[in-house]
């Protein structure tokens, strides 16, 4: 069933010069992504080209959204309100619950049922599929998975008399290393990702045995005012206070790292390809630092692919496209082009796919090695969930800036968050 509007719209489209999208029995679907040119953009285009060659009856229009998942969600919201949603969209894990509660998505399980995909879904372990679930619904297909790793500048470590072959493992070791780096080179030893999505904050807190959110008496409650959480945050704030860690937002952190002004850049494995192409020093990677002997616990970042198509032909095309992106071939291109961890078991050991690549790329191995430590990224529930997330971010900034102790800032934020999520029911 092809809608005549497609013809009419493309006749009016600005770029009508060359697109022949509406001709023949072709189903056109729209794919929304957040991949910039330095971050998987070319991979997106290549994947679409391959897919279209294999499926001549489907045409995929890619549409980039700036400002990452927040930007995409803004436009998605507008498009849904207007009744013109995309067919496939990348939705950040942080927004999975929000989309599940508010947007008319087509559940992946329904697609699999309708278009013969049960066998396909079986390829994925249950804990992977769980990444795309909200409540009982499989909102989307987990696609990009990242965890937080420690990139470091081996040259700077060497200058400070440290052995880059044996990088520090715990926060205390890193603190000592940062002290040495500061004394010997005058540079910052540590940069930990700071963004309003609280992703790195959660990794820090959870790795010290804390949590952001808990379920008490059937409703959600802020859990980040615990002493474990406060100690973890205070550790970070002290690093900043002592001039050992750089306190800036993420983009500036990256600039400092690339300019050789910070010895580490603790951020997503998804940056791997981009950093490798732009760092001019000996770039290496290691695991996220642990607190003593505690096991690190790292929220999974990245996105799921959610289908919003209304008519059947498009749903089928969207499902085919989703299957392709999450196929062995799709994941291989995706991991190479970005750094995301492949979600199909053993793909990194399969010589037909990623084995050689991973062997030659030790940083990528770090991301894969940390998979067992991956936990679900906490999103605050309900209509005020995103505002609650902001309250926590403010607390982090206040303690990093030294305006309040970690404990005081977190306690105040917990009170605010509890007010915002107090009516959200949960199952313990």
């Amino acid at each position: 069933m092809k809608r005549p509007t497609v013809v009419r719209l493309s006749a009016l489209t600005i770029g009508l010069l060359s697109m022949a999208a509406a001709q023949g029995k072709v189903t056109t679907i729209e794919y929304w992504h957040i991949n910039t040119e330095s971050f998987g953009g070319p991979a997106v285009r290549d994947l679409i080209k391959t897919f279209e060659a294999k499926n001549p009856s489907i045409k995929v229009q890619e549409r980039f959204h700036q400002n990452a998942y927040t930007g995409l969600l803004q436009n998605l919201q507008a498009a849904l309100a207007a009744g013109t949603p995309p067919d496939v969209a990348q939705v950040g894990y942080l927004y999975t619950n929000y989309v599940a509660e508010n947007f008319p998505f087509v559940p992946t399980t329904k697609l699999a049922q309708q278009f013969d995909g049960a066998a396909f879904l079986k390829r994925f372990p249950a804990n992977v599929l769980a990444l795309g679930q909200s409540g009982d619904a499989q909102v989307g297909m987990p696609y990009s998975l990242s965890n937080i790793v420690t990139y470091f500048n081996a040259d700077l470590l060497r200058q400070a008399g440290l052995d880059p072959a044996k990088p520090p493992k715990t926060w205390d070791e890193w603190r000592a290393a940062a002290q040495a780096i500061k004394t010997k080179t005058g540079k910052y030893g540590i940069y930990l990702q700071l963004l309003d999505d609280n992703w790195a904050t959660e990794a820090l807190v959870a790795s010290n045995g804390g949590a952001l959110l808990s379920c008490k008496g059937g409703t959600y409650q802020a859990a980040f005012a615990s002493s474990q959480a406060a100690k973890a945050l205070q550790f970070w704030a002290d690093l900043v206070k002592d001039g050992l860690a750089l306190n800036t937002l993420w983009t500036q952190g990256e600039q400092a790292f690339l300019a050789g002004e910070s010895a580490t850049f603790i951020t997503t494995i998804g940056k791997r390809a981009s950093l490798q192409s732009s760092a001019k020093f000996d770039l290496r990677g290691t695991t996220f630092p642990s607190f003593g002997t505690q096991k690190t616990s790292l929220p999974g970042g990245g996105n799921i692919l959610v289908v919003f198509s209304k008519d059947r032909a498009k749903q089928e095309a969207a499902w085919k496209f989703t299957q392709f992106l999450t196929s062995n071939e799709g994941f291989t291109a995706w991991t190479k082009g970005t750094g995301y961890v492949p979600l199909v078991d053993k793909l990194d050991q399969d010589p037909r796919y990623l084995a050689d690549f991973v062997k030659s790329n030790p940083i990528q191995r770090v991301g894969i090695q940390q998979l067992p430590n991956t936990m679900r990224w906490t999103s605050f529930p309900g209509a005020n969930g995103l505002a609650a997330s902001q309250a926590l971010f403010k607390a982090v900034q206040r303690s990093l800036g030294g305006q309040a102790s970690a404990q005081a800032a977190l306690s105040a934020a917990a009170q605010e968050v509890n007010g915002l999520v107090k009516n959200e029911k949960c199952k313990p």
Partner: protein, 305 residues
Amino acid sequence: MQALNPGGRPKGGAARLEATAALYYGPALLFLGLFVFWPLVSTAWISLHDWNMVGANRPWVGLDNYRSLLGDPDFAGTLRQSALYIGLALLGNFLLPLGLALLTLQVGRREAEVYQSLLFLPTVIAVSVGTLIWLWFYLPAGGLFGVALAQFGLRAPNWLSDPAWALPSVALVAVWKFLGFNYLIALAGLRAIPVSVLEAARIDGAGGWPLLRAVILPLFAPSALFLLVSALLAALENVFVPIEVLTVGGPAGATNNLMYAVYQDAFKFFRAGRAAAEAVLLVAAFAVLIVWQFRLLERRTAYDR
């Protein structure tokens, strides 16, 4: 605006004049109505509801959104910072351009053109693009400003993460982007002052500061309105992108302002009702400010016509 020449009106009578005039301003008004005022009205309506912008559920809450805003200490901070932004905008986009324009009057015309061209250049660059480079200027380690200060043995602050520095740092970008344009407007106003008037004043013995105060500035008043509007626009629209790119409103809300709060609540937190209430307050505040300025300045010039 007293009409000194009623004869300037067409003979066909008042009704026809009104009809003709409406024909001329009507289309423009239609577009403004459709794409500015209608959204504004619907925003005012939304501000009386609790809504997430997509859900079908949209309960009426009356003035609750306004009440909760006015009782929110964070919002008080946002208001304070908005006032600060306006203050800085008036400084950077009103007084500074005016000062530069006065200086320009001192130099020859050819030379003035060089300054005009150079100062105007940032206006040509898209703000979304132009702001990015400032991220690196403000980098505390190895950024341009830090390195430059270090040459003089000074230690640069953490511009964007220090609550005291963040707001001026962000405002500076908006000033940079808009300075050249306002400078031209200021120069326009000054140059529009007839030479004969100035000569007369000089012959009467005015010079220096008295000339500036008693002759030049009063004659400049009409252009001042235009300049003020531009400066206020700069405070509003042009600081939005710098905030988003440089600080996302932080650290801990220190660079947030009303304009950015509307955006955050609407498109980041999906609290459309609250965002709409903020928007209404914003527009109301500016409308009052502008209309007041306008009346003040137009009255001044009314006698000239």
